[in-house]
Amino acid sequence: FMQRSLDSQTKKQLEEEEKKIISEEHWYLDLPDLKEKESFIIEERSFMPCEDLLYGRMSFKGFNPEIEKLMVQMNSKSKKEEMEVDDKMEADVSDEEMARRYETLVGTIGKKFLKKRDQRVLQDEDEDENSNTRPSKAKKMFLKPQD
């Protein structure tokens, strides 16, 4: 605002007022320290975390099978141990078996998509070792992945 007509005295007065305002602001900084002291108490208005209540929808003796599945699921969420056990049980095929099968599978299915020239090349390679009938039989029959 208009600073041209200010005298040195009024300038000093203004500075003092500003300092007073700043010092008042400094007071406010003390209060947050007090509040931090009580941060370990959490206020909660719901009963759910206090009493570990069950899920509200229930079904008994198979009246509603979907709700019964839900009951098992929701009530075991609070006990997370069961969930971890379930994850381990789900794998029917072990990782090693999967890798072996995938290896052979890629080869057999890959042959299906070869162009005719490449298929003839493969056939010639087979003929060098075996008779004519065998490669034709091998081509027609489905090759099972070897265990």
Binding site: F40, E43, C50, R57, F63
Partner: protein, 258 residues
């Protein structure tokens, strides 16, 4: 102001407390240390849950409702210890996260008005259902029963219900099916029924197949195969509040004999 002497909180557990009582928490040695260490100190102590009926104040906790003081000691799974007041009331006050049964009273464009038994009606958006889009609207009519949870519930704003959880799945929420019977009980009975290993529910489940939905707002919905069976369950649940365990077992024994 008269300085009321506080009583140590752990001495009052299981006893009647009245509004205005001050409960002192066990003193921690860290409080006298430097303020700079508060950050690390709070993590070590574990959080203390100050439940319904209690407020943080001054030296400790101030009681705001009359009832019995309950305490849950600090355990591994559920975090730090908790204190709360077990009080009895019939009037429900919406709380965020509570699952309630509501009755649809109005359908205005994109919003449903649902009566949950509180001081004002809650709003429910048509998009707050699993698999709902602007074109695929949920089939909700006026008068339907809804099982949902509060997304917003405080004294300054209108409560909002949703029928979807944080991952977007319904997990049992939504419109409750046809038939069945809806009735109201006190809030304390609902909490007793929802407690893990509730004897009443276990005994009832032996009788015959039925379905039950319990809302934290005091509303219970029951459905069994016949009207008579439904009404029997309703009568037992209503009477449970004032019957002792002995009387209840006698009543159930008579029923299973019939």
């Amino acid at each position: 102001v008269m300085a009321a002497r506080g009583v140590p909180a752990e001495a009052c557990v299981g006893q009647l407390v009245l509004p205005g009582d001050v409960l002192l928490l066990p003193a921690h040695p860290d409080e006298d240390g430097e303020r700079l260490r508060l950050g690390a100190g709070a993590a070590r102590r574990g959080r203390l849950l100050c439940g319904p009926g209690l407020r943080r104040g001054g030296a400790g906790l101030t009681v705001t409702k009359c009832g019995l003081l309950r305490h849950r000691p600090a355990g591994g799974g559920s975090g730090g210890g908790a204190f709360w007041v077990d009080s009895q009331q019939k009037r429900y006050v919406p709380v965020k996260g509570d699952h309630v049964i509501g009755i649809v009273t109005a359908k205005t464009g994109d919003l449903f008005k649902v009566d949950v038994g509180g001081s004002e009606q809650a709003s429910l958006s048509y998009l707050a259902f699993e698999g709902a889009t602007k074109r695929n609207r949920p089939n909700v009519q006026v008068g339907d029963l809804i099982y949902g949870q509060f997304l917003v519930a405080n004294k300054d704003m209108e409560p909002e219900l949703v029928c979807i959880d944080s991952s977007g799945r319904a997990s049992g929420m939504g419109v409750i099916g046809q038939d069945g019977f809806l009735f109201k009980v006190s809030l304390g009975l609902i909490r007793k029924l929802l407690a893990p290993k509730c004897e009443i529910i276990q005994e009832l489940s032996q009788l015959y197949p039925f379905e039950l939905v319990l809302g934290m707002n005091g509303r219970i919905w029951v459905k069994a195969k016949t009207v008579q069976q439904t009404l029997i369950i309703v009568n037992i649940l209503e009477a449970c509040e004032y019957m002792t365990a002995e009387q209840r077992k006698q009543a159930l024994a008579k029923l299973s004999a019939n």
